[in-house]
């Protein structure tokens, strides 16, 4: 067998021998025209495929899990938005309204005391409309408890004066209270502060509970993504090994996985968010159509119109964005942790 010539050190500029194949191509050595021709030959190639095959990353099942989690998170955001809006509306109404209550006192003319109280209240700055509830309105107010045809003079029924504040900030309620209780017999002032503080506490609790549910849903999703990433890495052990020996850094490998999970998170998030938006719209339509029904009126009394407002829809958008980012970040961190453990 003929021997091939011995390789020699420092022979880099030697011409190839007769038996040797053509010299190996060197990057950027070819002339520009030849490079252009070679590049044109490569034009027929398919678009470069992803290094980590998409089908090897947990596909439909995880997308469905992410979609369900996003849907639940969006529903929570919607519910919090409805309660928050309702609490806000109640609070605004109550802050803008103050009530004077005059209890009947023996020997005192109730009608005269009412007129005096109305006149006194109107003198204060920042007061808008001062209106004593008429007999008919008082009867209507008591009707659910005492029945119709009530004779107000026969019972010691307290009478109410409704004060609407034009500018709640400029009204000195303490001074008004002192003036009313000091000069009107049997009068007291209710600024609804007990109610507003309770409402604030209730709304705060609902919002906190909403965030807690949101955090739990997101935590479940993150754990699902961690497991899916670990499974994807186990399924792509060969790809990771090849990437390592061609000099890929851990951050490059993490990015390759992250890209798939970002797409998966986006699809799942958008699907879940879209379902939630459909639910909100259906709920809005139903609540409008059911106006006038007893059950609907009770709901309206509690929540006003049961519809998700703009901040609720913006919250859905934020959830979709959060889900996609969280999915990608989690997978990236899981890959890095896995690779670090492997070393």
């Amino acid at each position: 067998m003929a021997k091939i010539s011995k390789p020699r050190a420092n022979a880099s500029r030697q011409a190839p021998g007769k038996s040797a194949p053509n010299r190996p191509p060197a990057p950027a050595r070819a002339k520009p025209a030849r490079r252009r021709r070679l590049a044109r030959e490569g034009n027929a190639l398919r678009p470069t495929a992803p290094i980590v095959p998409p089908q090897s990353v947990a596909g439909r099942a995880l997308t469905l899990v992410v979609a369900i989690m996003s849907f639940l998170a969006c529903l929570t955001v919607g519910a919090v938005s409805v309660v928050w809006d309702a609490a806000d509306a109640w609070q605004n109404d109550l802050v803008r309204e103050v009530t004077i209550q005059i209890r009947p006192v023996d020997g005192i003319d109730m009608a005269r005391e009412i007129d005096r109280a109305v006149a006194l209240a109107q003198e204060f700055p920042g007061i808008g409309v001062v209106r004593a509830l008429s007999d008919a309105e008082t009867r209507q107010l008591l009707e659910p408890w005492l029945g119709g045809g009530l004779d107000l003079d026969a019972l010691p029924v307290p009478r109410l004066i409704q004060i609407t504040l034009a500018d709640p900030g400029s009204v000195d309620l303490d001074q008004l209270r002192t003036a009313i209780t000091g000069s009107i017999s049997g009068a007291s002032l209710d600024d609804h502060s007990v109610w507003t503080s309770r409402l604030s506490a209730m709304a705060g609790t609902v919002v906190l509970a909403g965030f807690a549910i949101l955090a739990l849903v997101m935590a479940s999703m993150v754990l699902s993504v961690v497991f899916a990433t670990q499974a994807a890495m186990a399924g792509n052990k060969d790809v990771i090994s090849v990437l390592h020996f061609v000099g890929a850094e851990d951050s490059f490998i993490a990015r390759e996985f992250q890209r798939h999970f970002l797409v998966l998170g986006l699809i799942g998030g958008i699907a879940g968010g879209a379902c939630a938006v459909v639910c909100f719209v259906v709920l809005d339509v139903f609540s409008r159509e059911a106006e006038g029904l007893a059950s609907s009126d009770q709901l309206s009394a509690l929540f006003g119109s049961v519809s998700v407002s703009l901040p609720g829809y913006l919250g859905v958008l934020a959830v979709v964005f959060l889900v996609a980012v969280l999915t990608a970040l989690t997978s990236g961190l899981a890959v890095k942790a896995h690779l670090a453990k492997g070393d």
Binding site: M1, I4, A9, P21, A39, L45, F245, V246, E249
Partner: protein, 219 residues
């Protein structure tokens, strides 16, 4: 370029499979690494490639002490070393072209930058007509050439080939050997691990012979 001093390797609590290895891979050198099956050739290749850490001894790679090299730096050093594995390690979901371009994608090059180089190299290794073929449909020889092309595309300083002719017929083996020699002439140090006596007889080159975990060097 790469220097081993009294290097030993054992897996876990098992016996030492490589003992007191001391040798140097000089720049632009050409050597065979040989020895019977199971002598530890692949383990030594893995040590050279930094995918294994020695249990004792000193390894200097590109004038850096391996024990002092930060984990983040290892990929950067690996880019200077091309490896051809016996089982090719081509990615089945990528085309031949994409497999060969992989080391360039890893360093962040855009496809437009490297397309001409990859096409040229593919033609040079005789795979110009198989650019779009997927590895499962390539023959053993084609896979071997694709694996070699992938190792060469970044023009590494050192090329490590583990049984590169193990799956090819003698004429192709000779052609691949010539390819390695040409590469060496262009300045790349080449280490070919093989137990193919016929291949060894074709070239007068330095031989590193592994037997019973010890290495003998025949210049």
């Amino acid at each position: 370029m790469i220097r081993f001093e009294n290097v030993g390797l054992r897996y876990g609590m098992g016996p030492e499979i490589l003992r007191d290895l001391s040798f140097e891979i000089a720049p632009q050198s050409f050597q065979f690494l040989t020895g019977p099956s199971g002598a530890g050739k692949t383990s030594l290749i893995r040590l050279l490639f930094m995918s294994l850490k020695p249990t004792r001894g000193l390894i200097r790679i590109f004038n850096r002490d391996l024990s002092q090299i930060d984990k983040q730096e290892i990929p950067l050093l690996r880019r200077k070393i091309g490896v051809v594995f016996q089982d090719f390690r081509l990615l089945d979901h990528l085309t031949t072209y994409e497999n060969i371009a992989l080391p360039l994608r890893v360093v962040g090059k855009e496809e437009a930058e490297y397309r001409a180089d990859v096409v040229e190299l593919l033609k040079w290794v005789g795979l110009g007509e198989r650019m779009q073929a997927m590895p499962p449909v390539l023959s053993g020889g084609e896979k071997q050439r694709a694996a070699i092309a992938r190792a060469l595309i970044t023009r590494p300083d050192v090329l490590l080939a583990d049984e590169p002719t193990g799956n090819v017929d003698p004429p192709l083996a000779r052609r691949l050997l010539r390819l390695f020699i040409e590469l060496n002439k262009l300045g790349t140090s080449v280490v070919i691990a093989t137990h193919d006596i016929a291949l060894l007889e074709q070239v007068e080159a330095r031989r590193l012979v592994l037997a019973d975990g010890r290495l003998s060097v025949f210049d």
